[in-house]
């Protein structure tokens, strides 16, 4: 279980990025975090992974307080995070990265290929390639997601997994999320604006202005979000008529 209490993150001279966030996510839930750009979603995800040090509050994962734990130890406890803009590595090949993610010295060819297939990449074309600037943004993004799959972590956080991914691969990806969820293999926290991903959710968390403004079952929250989106925008109101 992931329990976040009173989590805040402030940067001096700037607005508060996270403000007193309380959030509890039960095991094996698929939770989609959504909300307007700049609302604090990525910062929240990074704070869970340890990439951002919170100013106050606490984060507990499976009963362990990880608030002040370093990234490495959080990862070893089963927290994983797929970067919104993954870095590239000159010289490191896709199979090297997947092997590091899987935590084994070497990953079998079949296993590596399996992870790539699950994100819609043709394994044979990619397994030996370097994760460098020769790959497109969408390709790197999918390799990033494959590394999270290879970790087989208890908590998988994906930060806008749909960004830069073509329609066909995206369909494959949503199937992968659905399958992980169906097997109850992990708790999934997915930052997304995509209806097809939101549709997979057990719960939706809406983050806006650094706060959790809505949190509840999908069937309850989604209609509220949709209603607000249309009523809050005069242009969309006109369109809806």
């Amino acid at each position: 279980m992931l329990e976040i209490k009173g989590l805040s993150y402030q940067v001096e001279g700037e607005v508060d990025i996270l403000r007193d966030i309380d959030l509890t996510i039960a095991d094996h839930q698929l939770v989609v975090v959504t909300g307007p750009n700049g609302g604090g979603k990525t910062t929240l995800a990074k704070a869970i992974m340890g990439l951002v040090p919170p100013t106050s509050g606490s984060i507990c994962w499976n009963g362990t307080d990880i608030t002040h734990m370093d990234i490495t130890n959080r990862a070893r406890l089963g927290v994983s995070y797929g970067f919104q803009q993954p870095p590239r590595f000159k010289g490191l090949r896709v199979k090297d990265l997947l092997a590091l993610a899987a935590g084994s010295g070497s990953l079998s060819h079949e296993e590596g290929c399996q992870y790539l297939t699950r994100v819609g990449l043709c394994a044979n074309d990619y397994i030996d390639r370097e994760v460098d600037a020769s790959l497109s943004g969408g390709e790197v993004k999918r390799i990033e997601i494959a590394t999270i799959l290879a970790r087989r972590a208890g908590l998988m956080i994906f930060d806008e997994p749909e960004a830069g991914i073509d329609l066909w691969s995206f369909a494959r990806l949503t199937e992968t999320f659905r399958a992980i969820h169906a097997k109850r293999e992990a708790t999934l926290l997915i930052i997304s604006h995509q209806e097809r991903i939101i549709d997979l959710a057990d719960e939706i968390v809406m983050v806006q202005g650094g706060r959790v403004v809505k949190h509840g079952p999908k069937d309850e929250i989604l209609p509220q979000i949709m209603a607000n989106t249309v009523s809050g925008c005069s242009y969309m109101r006109e369109e809806a008529k």
Partner: protein, 307 residues
């Protein structure tokens, strides 16, 4: 051969026992052992004042290899070696060279060498050279390799040179003259640390129509070490050349990279890229999110970079 000798041979040429095929092992300035084959003949140079060997590979020799490692375990030894390779037309061979110094004394141990390759028409050569130094002594470990390659029409050579740690000072000079439709690919990998100094001076001359050349240099400079790269690619014909130098700088190291491309023909296409930078913070963070410590992440990034 003692245990230290085999350790050096393993480091530089992955040899754990006497190699198959032709070989010449030079140990502490003298011949240790040698073997020629029906197609590859190794002979001692007879020119006065020139220590070294001539390697003659018969035209059409395919799938054979030559090992010519040099090891030095004697402190204070300094040598200059001349090795000439005559590779016949239509050959397809591997040449595994390299030098390992174990210096446990307080005097400098130094190996300088000039390798000259005459590669015949349509021959294909893969040349692998590793330099390695170790030893608890305060004496310096110095290596200054010079390589000259002359590629006949349609010939090709892959030159892979690696120096990872342990060599206090190196000045590498490489010159390749590429004939018509011939090809050279030079891959250079270098890691310096402490107060080591490394310089690599390269001259690739694309001399015939259809000639092509690629230089891929990857280096890591740690601590207060210094590296200087000077790869020059000259196009004298309808040719293609590409120079790519990438360096990772760490600690208080210094790197200078000065690639030069010179076109003396209207159809010469030459490109150079050079980059120096530290390990990106997000690369380390990414690997830490996979469960590696910061130190392990750095090591993996460097290993991959020099892979």
């Amino acid at each position: 051969m003692e245990q230290n000798d085999w350790k050096l041979l393993k480091e530089i040429a992955e040899l754990e026992k006497t190699p198959q095929g032709a070989y010449n092992i030079r140990r502490n300035g003298a011949l240790d052992s040698r073997s020629s084959t029906a197609n590859i003949e190794i002979v001692t140079k007879t020119e006065p004042g020139k220590s070294g060997i001539d390697i003659h590979i018969k035209p059409g020799t395919k799938g054979e290899s030559v090992h010519i490692p040099v090891i030095i375990t004697q402190t204070g030894l300094s040598e200059m070696v001349y090795n000439d390779f005559f590779i016949g037309a239509d050959c397809d061979v591997d040449i595994i060279a390299g030098c390992g110094i174990h210096n446990s004394g307080c005097e400098t141990a130094q190996h300088d060498g000039l390798h000259t390759f005459h590669v015949g028409k349509n021959a294909k050569v893969r040349y692998v050279e590793r330099h390695y130094g170790e030893g608890e002594g305060t004496g310096k470990r110095i290596m200054n390799p010079q390589t000259e390659v002359y590629l006949d029409e349609g010939a090709s050579i892959e030159l892979e040179t690696t120096q990872i740690r342990g060599v206090d000072s190196t000045k590498r000079e490489t010159k390749v003259v590429v004939g018509a439709n011939a090809e050279v690919v030079i891959t250079e990998k270098l890691l310096t640390h402490g107060d080591q100094v490394a310089e690599s001076d390269m001259d690739v001359i694309l001399d015939g129509p259809g000639a092509s050349g690629r230089v891929i240099s990857r280096s890591v400079a740690q601590d207060s070490s210094t590296q200087v790269f000077y790869p020059r690619m000259t196009g004298n014909a309808d040719c293609f050349g590409h120079v790519q130098c990438d360096s990772i700088i760490m600690g208080g190291a210094k790197i200078k990279s000065i690639p030069a491309i010179v076109a003396n023909h209207v159809d010469a296409q030459l490109v150079h890229e050079a980059a120096i930078g530290r390990i990106a913070g997000d690369q380390i963070l990414k690997l830490m999110t996979l469960g590696l410590t910061e130190e392990e992440a750095e090591e993996k990034i460097l290993d991959g970079f020099l892979q």
